[in-house]
Amino acid sequence: MNKSLIVWGLVLVMGVLGSAPVGWAQEAPQEAPETAAQPMTQAELARLLVNLLGLGRFLPAAPTDQQCFAVLMENNIAPADGWQGEEIVTRALLARLVVQALRRADEIENPDDPQSWIDFLEGLGVSLETVEDATGELNPMTEPIAPNVYRDASSTDPLQRRDKFSGETEVHFGTDVGYNETVRPLTRREVDRILQEAVRRREARRPATPD
């Protein structure tokens, strides 16, 4: 327990100290309105979508941009020309991504026309005035696609890898996997019990001595 507290404490203290030179504590109150007025990048939107669609549980605690792009693409959510993290989000792109996240991309009449995505979304009554308005209708996805079980089990990073899953009910890339069925080896008591049982059976099968 003490070790845990020390590590958690160190992480928090170092994080705060690490940020001190850039003076976030002083800047934060002033930065908020400026930040709100700044255009959003595709990387920032991807991070927001990952949260709103419930995909964050498949990624590390602080995922990279590429990890966010990959999990969105696995669920068919991507700009027409692919994710470009530093590019600015346009209305048409926002409309496209939100429609894809709503799982209604197949209803777009002309997918090559950016205006079609905007018209469709506005037809649903969704405003594109702000990102918050546009993404307000998004819910966590029903069984999203993610290679979470095997990727977590396969990871070499002790901050990410995991070997314990929920038996027969974990879903991996849209399938029901049985990863947890790698059976635990027997304990010493269990082995002793099996050996005793084997002896008992052998004795029970021993033929009677002929007269």
Partner: protein, 421 residues
Amino acid sequence: MKQILSAVVVAGLCLSSAMAIEGTPFKITSRLRLEYDDNIRQAPDTAENPKEDSLKYLADFELWLEMNGPHTYFGLRYRPSIIYWDNRPEDDLDVHHDFDLIVNHQFSPRVSLNFKDTFRRAELPELIERGDIVRERNDFNYNSANVTVATLVAPALRLDLSGRHELLRYDDSDVASSEDYDKLTGGATLRQQLNQASAVAGDLRYAATDYDTAEDAINRDTQSVRVGGTLEHIFSPVLMGQVSAGFENKSFDADDTDDESSPYVDASLSYFPQPDLRLNGGASYSFYDSGAFPYANQTRTMVYGALTYDLTERLAWNTSLSWQNGHYKAEDIPGDARIRDLPPAVRQGVPEWALDLPASELIDTEIGDADQQVLSFSTRMTFRIHRSHWLELGWNYNDVDTDIGTDYKRNRISIGWKAQL
């Protein structure tokens, strides 16, 4: 009692789903399946130990609570799963619980705190052969709590300081005495975005595994230090990959057990050749926590792949495949272990008089080494009958070939209905 509890949970969730009101932060999904399982006890299917099959009824409910503010995101997912077994008289009901919690807070444009907790409560009944319990209950609680403070040191340079605590607790005291653990991991990652398509990172990790064993028990505790790097690259709008590699040193608390070192490598690739086809794959090689008493370490190799293909607008096909090999060496057995402590299949051929000798006597022989190979294949067809309703047909196959447990093959075939309420 468990049945009554389950009935109450199901009724409660059905009622709450019926009462779900648009605009509330709660979201509910349900999934019902009927499944045929051809090997419910994971038996090797020999004359002594034949397979037994059963029908199962599975009900999953997923409840989401989420809140998203200008600087803070909070997401909580709870999924209870209830499994009723038609032909498992000694225990016909399993209840699993999954909790996932994510909290992200942006202190400033440069600094964020990210917390993620994963909790699993899983049930696995005892293994009964001819009326005798030969393997105790495997019910366990598992929790993993991760926290990362991410700091943007420069516009393209990010420093992540992370900590993680994992715990595993089995219900059965005999199992718990050798398998329960606490793991503590700390790490730092310095990540430089080279351009829009590429990033490199340097990784440093320290991990300590502490088994919750009695003082006189075999000491499997370990500490490891890992140093390496990661490269992420977007090759094209439809192809992206990541590779990590480095070196790990592991030390053992047990006397007479030498430190071990190994390189590690971990690569994954995501390929989206067309919008309706997505492919994903990866491979890794590294030290791993043992998972098999009395070994304190294993070297694991794993390969996996997955495919999603939208055959039509309504019909989707998902498939995944994985293979792993865990290699356990006699050198990884703590010095205070006896040959008798090894799994029976591993110490086969050792005469009775030698069983109480130290397991270290087996070093440089092939007797103490063990392997466990697991092949898993899953596929599912999903048909969307309505915007919020799906029908699905699934098949899962597992093949376990092990020196440390029981070999078995298992098929599970299911048909189900899924709805977002």
